[in-house]
């Protein structure tokens, strides 16, 4: 079977005289670097390096960054504390404590009293978003996060809650694109 596999032999012949005296390959190599240098100096630049943080990379609208807990029109969280995201999370970094909905809305009996994500444990896989049946948790494109201690990385409802209209948030990974 292995004999029928189409192969291409990449062995190279011993160096030619021109190659042995270094000069040929060295000049053609210099040609390559000179071409890149001149093009980057005068022509179309093809440099992948960006001057971060002054310049920031443009990510797609699927980027999996820090989470957002979305809200309904009345400003209440969409979350019904069903624990599906907590169950689906491979990093076990979501912690929810449910309570009876204190408001008058009967359509949603439960709401989270505590909803915490440990951003240092989170692996940003988006499984919580996939698991949520209410579109209550989506991800933003915020990925630059720094904390001065571990407790600070555990964020609760107030930090996670959607701020302002969702169109204005920098939203990333979510159920539809």
């Amino acid at each position: 079977m292995m004999k029928d596999v189409p192969t291409v032999n990449v062995d190279r012949p011993p160096s030619s005289l021109l190659e042995r005296i270094y000069l040929g390959p060295i000049f053609s190599g210099l040609g390559v670097t000179l071409r890149h240098f001149l093009r980057n100096l005068f022509g179309k630049k093809d440099i992948a390096t960006i001057e971060y943080p002054e310049v920031k990379r443009q990510y797609s609208e699927r980027l999996r960054g820090r989470h957002i807990l979305t809200t309904r029109d009345n400003g209440k969280l969409r979350c019904v504390a069903c624990y599906m995201c907590e169950t689906a999370c491979p990093a076990h970094c979501i912690h929810i404590v449910a309570e009876e909905n204190p408001g008058e809305e009967v359509a949603h009996e439960k709401v989270p009293r505590i909803y915490e994500i440990d951003l240092l444990r989170c692996v940003y896989c988006g499984y919580c978003v996939d698991a949520c049946p209410e579109e209550a948790i989506i991800m933003s494109r915020t990925h630059e996060m720094a904390f001065s201690d571990r407790d600070e990385a555990v964020i609760g409802i107030e930090e996670l809650r959607q701020k302002g209209p969702i169109e204005e948030a920098d939203i990333g990974y979510r159920p539809y694109f």
Binding site: V5, A88, C125, A131
Partner: protein, 558 residues
Amino acid sequence: MQNPLPSKLQSLLLSSEVCPDGHVEMKVERSHLLEVLKGLRDDPACSCNLLADICGVDYPDREQRFEAVYHLGNLDSGQRYRVRVGLAEDDAVLPSAYSLWPAADWFEREAWDMMGIQFEGHPNMKRILTHEAFQGHPLRKDYDASQRCLMTEDDLMVPDWAKEDQASADDFETQILNIGPSHPATHGTLRTVVRLDGEVIDRAECEIGYLHRCFEKMSETHGWNQVIPYTDRLNYCSSMINGVGFALTVEKMLGIEAPPRAQAIRVILSEFSRLMDHAVCLGANLVDLGALTNFWYFFQPREEIYGLLESCAGGRLTVSYARVGGLSHDVPPDFEERCRRLLKEIPPFLDDVDKLVTTNRIFRDRTEGVGKMTAEEAIAWGWTGPCLRASGVPYDVRKAAPYMGYENYDFDVPIATTGDTYARYLVRMEEMRQSLRIIEQALDQMPEGPIITGDHHVALPPKARVYSEMESLIWHFKLVFDGIHVPKGSAYGFTEGANGELGYYVVSDGGGQPYRVKVRPPCFAIFQAFPHLIEGHMVPDLIAIMGSLNIIAGELDR
């Protein structure tokens, strides 16, 4: 399928059967193990030249608590064999297969370390992934994963020969040197202890496991799909390939296949990942040899590919894109255009690197004849992938046991014959070009359709239906809370990772979580030959050889 085992061997077995995937599985008593293994290796009907892996499994309820599973293969016919041997808890000792295949060296050490199975006659029966002073065997079912084990500086691993050497009078002649674990040229936390005679290495031993993070143990407490983000961290230079490999293995056990569109997307992104992996390997290898510019030329397309992956999956490095049964989302609308642009942009960079180094005498002098491996040795050590092909063996899982429709793509397997560092460079360069060929064909043939199976025992129903229909919501709920129920049994799934054969041996007890997951990381087998490969070479050669093997600590240590 007919049982291909010769009758002479069959008489030594307790039982044998041919699995649905064509692999031949047999059970054997410990007393006949070596004889059977030797028979499988030497009998012309089998000629298993590859010992792919050894895996220990713990079944606390069985009379014979442990089971060791040997994965063997014949590289010419592609036929696979599995030998199982049961062991009682108070007598978990097996004869070592080191004399048959040197590849058994680290595999057996791992089985000892993780499962507590001893191997008699092994030349260096020590722990490998955990620290020497570690207590217990973590993959046993009764090992509590949350316990901690404190290690101190005094427990540093020093091989016996190095200790003796330092104590003896010849100490003046030779010198013990530590290379790594944190050294820029090791590109990962790998430690090599060498004894130098002048500048020549005359003995070496590796210590690995610095990046061990219990991937296999964690898999046992997570749902089948939840393992996929963990696989991203195996070979993190080509994370897509790992997730796909795992998903394929679980799909095999479930008896399902991902839809054709998902397969095509998996192929395209896997090939791009392979290309990136080779680019990182060669780029870093060349930097170590003083050819820095190439690193930039390689990393430019790599950056673009990361952008492409991120636009599909939402993550650059750890993509978590594959799911059992397909993919998490369809690709964005501009996917094909972006891929085609990359197909045009990448070759000039490869040509540039080619011009800079391939014929350059300095590079050739540094790499030719350095770290030479013959074909026979390479197979005996369990090598696969580009490193094996550089020794002249055209073994590629994509050809030998095609999956995801690789049989429909027209591509060649690059081989070289010299088996040295230069050959490994040449093979990887050509493989990148072949990957581009595959991608082009996959784009041309890309079918429309769903990207994940419609079986709601396996895949979450579409979100729109979950929001509106009770039935879908129930499926969704069941799948999230109970997970996928994979039928009881085991399977070995293997794919061509960037470094070689990436195998997953998965055992299911019918529950929503794997009972046991064993990864066969390609570079584990490759790296175990490293101490032998560098003997007789100088220190700078060690750096060149290590770079050309592409050892990724994430998959090596798991």
